[in-house]
Symmetry: D3
Subunit: 272 residues, 6 copies
């Protein structure tokens, strides 16, 4: 059967999650172009690799040539210094969108983050239309790309799905992840749904597995057709045995962003 | 066990869907009265048939005598000339409601349509309270019956369920139906729920199977107790192999009404 | 200064309100074409008159030739027999919209009515997006035109404003009108705003003066720029002296439609 | 593994539901303190019992000493005389909250009731933020505790979950319970989720099993992680065979509170 | 002209606000019955006085005989000990509602308070349907009467308006009152509107003058027809000169309840 | 009388609007510090000036020393090249917020823009919580500062008001400005309200005069106490005489952003 895409660009492809995506997205494209700042290993016959910084506009323009869709998971993955955020996430993502526009890519799937809305509470049960409340400069950069991609859709017709990934790790590592976890397999399912849904326009979706505790409402992304199949129940006993409960009045316990709300300004932290 | 109804009138009973309803609704009534413009075949012992036009007020008044509930699936099933819409769907449905009122029927289940709200987008994720946006004169006539039935409930206490059926076919025939399909079995489940729910007042419900892609929110019809049991996943590979994807910017791809939004005025079409 | 329109068609022009509109809308067009079933009197130099039934499609098609906009206030103005509603309001309005489409009119301002939403309560404080709840066949026909005009906008780009007029009389005649009254001057202001607003698409607006008691929320029609300047306070003492209060538990006191909710089916009433 | 609580106080522990809670909550605490007006039987090794009236502030203060969390299911369980409601439910619950505050309990799970919102209709599909509409003095007392517990959370940081239990009986006893039933096992699951969710602040949750007919929206309590596992389908045939349907226009059929809306004032009833 | 009511009962009539109401409501009734725990002075010819405690059910039943409507402003006006709240506000208001029901009064206007929703923030811009968040036991008692009166309306058809009065003082006394002030004249206007609106059912209204800073949305009470005519601008310069601004991060600055959120539990305060 | 602030920093102070703010805000502070890339003329005794680029972090840090509040109107005022947007608006505003945080300023009033939500339609009547839909890179940079300032409030307690200014010009220059105009006097009133409101936390407000056509809902900013006193009616005749109406189907007519939605990518435009 024909694959939905000929060439798919994956940024941030050298990391652990990138490895999962290489495996999981292979059925969707004839060729995967893998981009990262560091070399990608174990290249498969259907893969090609490019090493560059996202802040390098020329390199990004070149990397997006001949690409049908982009899975943009690259950039700084955590709170860090402003200059890094500015270069890797803001300037870098702008370069990706410009590359996509100039080279005619049809769709971008972007790894946004819970940290774009980290200062909303669990009890608020927000949906994907709630105003942003970033909990970090990292989160602010995610908001930037969400609005940038909205602009590229409204004005240039470039489709985007922004995935607000909660906690994508091999296993839930603490009590918060018992509700915030996104399994690698569900992450692949979510990106696959985002790439294959017939129409996405500009869509924001939360990214969690089917955990029993549900603090947000993802129904407005129902047109993606994402059906998570994992949950954290099989990890619960072990996690609860190893990690004491958080004080329910601690900010990290009631804000969606978890411990991100507790960290200070990265430039202050750096100077400590 | 006692059946919920003694006599049930089904309009539009001669068609393919009518055949499914005859089979599926038999457990709900001692007697099915089958109405259509053309003769209904293979009458069963629990069935009786009547042939007449819905626009014939006297015939409808007679057909609704002694009826406890009405499953009103008759009338023009597609976009067509105004005079036909006016006679079959507007005048015809008025006759049904007047017959129900004068003869004391308790409940009407009406085959409304996605085309009453065809100009809403998938991304809007509307619920059943959203303002109507018909995509055709056919859709306008569905809106008419939805408001007419609201009036008969508010003023005369005649209960109605208006089912906005998306795509009820033997199998999903194109990529849109991968999300819009209502299997015949689920259609029977939906009508059954509408007839047996303890209280419906005036209820509008979307009509789809449990497909993975969910572009609308049917929670306000939760008091019907409809639980779809089919979905389109087993048809997906075959459909996707045979039908190319729609351009995501094509109106037929992002409006709920699909290709109905592309057709012109029926009176123009007729004169072509 | 150039007038916004060259030729304006006013239907229902022979009545009391029509007379007000002739006077009030004169500044908006070089020529007013006045249509009614009965002859319009006292024609002014800027006016021309046509006598026909709205149900006569050919006559309507002719009357809409060379027209830039239509103020459609014709048709049955009260609850009446179904056949009259069907001919004058449903078929008649369809003819107007077809005439507008075929002859290239740019905008229609339609006299809808509170009776399209007459079964909502004052306490519900609905806005213009609330689902319709007609209180009469007359109200059902208003809902029909609201959905028909939505269709003509979405598919054919013909703009419409549907004015849900509450009580447009020379003076408030009873206690309900102390909140539901629309003065003739405010009615002219509302139609003028509807004709001159830069963009209306398909807009529904409530039609009331600036009375102190405000049972509905018209903010979603704010882009019309309608600013009522009358209110009922100067009539209050006289009305309250002459009319006893309604029982607050009487349907006519708590439904927006007032006494319309108390009348039975017009066909029953006729046979009394 | 460590249990989440050391000592748990259960009020209303002598009744049928109390017996279920004793069994079901045993895994959550080292010790269950059981309180009721009547003696609790068959004390287990992990249990201790106290007999007192909730209206006795000193007794309640003593009973809440050394308690980590309280499952407050005591008080009058049905509509009854005002003086009883005032003493058992209003004064009694105040005593519980004061005891919890003074003795440093961390969380209270309170048996509120559908009767706090009994005058909402099924068709309204309210969520847990809808304004209260009690159907009885009993329901008014439930509203009182919901607002009292909100106050104790906002001002004193004492967490509460208010469970609006619909119909918790061994089996569904009538047609209404086909949708309103909460199985004992699901009731235990709901209380367990309320006690173990990492953060509840002040949460209101509906309490029903996973019945097919869903008249309310519980998504705002999703952070409890309650997953019902029972439903009424296996009882449907028997219930429908024994109980005739309600008139869909009867208040008891369309208000959530069921037959509670039909009873008069308890002080009138008492004097009959 | 006939007055709307024959006899009006005012509770809490001996205080400063009671004096304003006596003067302001005189045009609405032939006779004012004035109730308070202390003697009302300067009785006018249209007035009669009764001295009793609201907690005395027999006295209240007697005082409500022959009364057409009740303006219930009595009870504890501030945070105070639980036993006082319970007797004066909870038991006392129950007595008023029972008296109204048994004696056939048509409407009650109740002095609820901002303190029923004191833990909402200014930035939330709540409307009158927002869930309650009392800031004191006093506020909890206001919530109690709001739900009690809802019950008396839904079950017994006794109309009520609950006025959430913000700050009704002769003049704004601090910076918060620059937005929360309700002038005495506007208070009289609000009670008058509540007594004369044709239909109120059960209505909750905020009570503020037309101050420029508007932290809440009162549009759902629009059917009262209340039009405030005062505002605080003429007091601004003097208030700002005398009172320093609050820290914008202080709870008393961002919660609607103001300094009420800072006070502790009244029983603790009493024992200090 | 004491002024609310000692030192106020105004960025973008050399422009026409800056001149208005210098005059209008003088009553609010003992000293105005005026910043711009070009020299500010006609310094008054209460003023001091600094010339620097916002992209210069050290200069901004120095300029924000000893400042109590900042009126941040500097940066690129129109769509322009990405590198300029990045330096002047993104990096520059970050510098302002870091300066404010490090130097302890209490509040920032930021000139956001309608172009942050330019792709919403007039008919949508959005409020300030609607998701952003920027119509330009300029608009994307406004969204960036709105989310950045939200972060500085949530994490560091620095208050901000983001003013989405529509069209602030000496007079309305075209038909769109008949509804989008913000007079200079009203602009000063809006900034004054933002600086003097007792509590703003993080507030977004639309910025328009009191024009009759109202396409958005600003009620959620009611706690600012902004009362516009100008409107465009006195300019209407002249504007309508000189400017032809827009086609109501033109994007510039129905999107809030006006002609901004028609311009292409600035980097394409530059290379033309």
């Amino acid at each position: 059967m024909t694959k939905p895409y000929d060439t798919l660009l994956i940024t941030g492809a050298a990391g652990r999650l990138g490895t999962e995506l290489r495996r999981g997205l292979a059925p969707l494209a004839n060729r995967l172009r893998l981009a990262d700042r560091t070399e990608v290993r174990d290249l498969q016959p259907n893969e090609e690799a490019m090493v560059f910084d996202l802040a390098d506009a020329d390199a990004v323009l070149k990397a997006t040539q001949g690409v049908d869709a982009i899975v943009h998971f690259g950039g700084a993955p955590l709170e860090t210094a402003w200059e890094t955020i500015l270069d890797s996430n803001i300037r870098g993502s702008y370069n990706i969108y410009e590359g996509a526009r100039k080279n005619g890519a049809r769709r971008v799937v972007y790894a946004s983050s819970v940290h774009a809305i980290g200062y909303h509470t669990l009890e608020a049960h927000i949906d994907t239309d709630a105003p942003v409340r970033p909990d970090s400069l990292y989160g602010v950069s995610k908001c930037f790309v969400e609005s940038l991609s909205r602009f590229y859709w409204d004005k240039f017709g470039l489709e985007s799905v922004c995935l607000r990934i909660f906690s994508s790790f091999p296993e839930p590592a603490d009590r918060r992840m018992l509700w915030s976890w996104l399994s690698f397999d569900d992450c692949v399912r979510l990106v696959t749904a985002s790439l294959t849904a017939p129409r996405v326009g500009h869509t924001i979706s939360f990214g969690m597995s089917d955990n029993s505790l549900k603090p947000v409402d993802n129904s407005k992304a129902g047109h993606l057709g994402y059906l998570p199949q994992d949950n954290t129940e099989r990890f619960r006993a072990a996690v609860e045995a190893q990690k004491p409960p958080l004080d329910p009045k601690a900010p990290a316990a009631f804000y969606l962003g978890g411990w991100f709300v507790d960290i200070g300004h990265p430039d202050d932290e750096a100077s400590k």
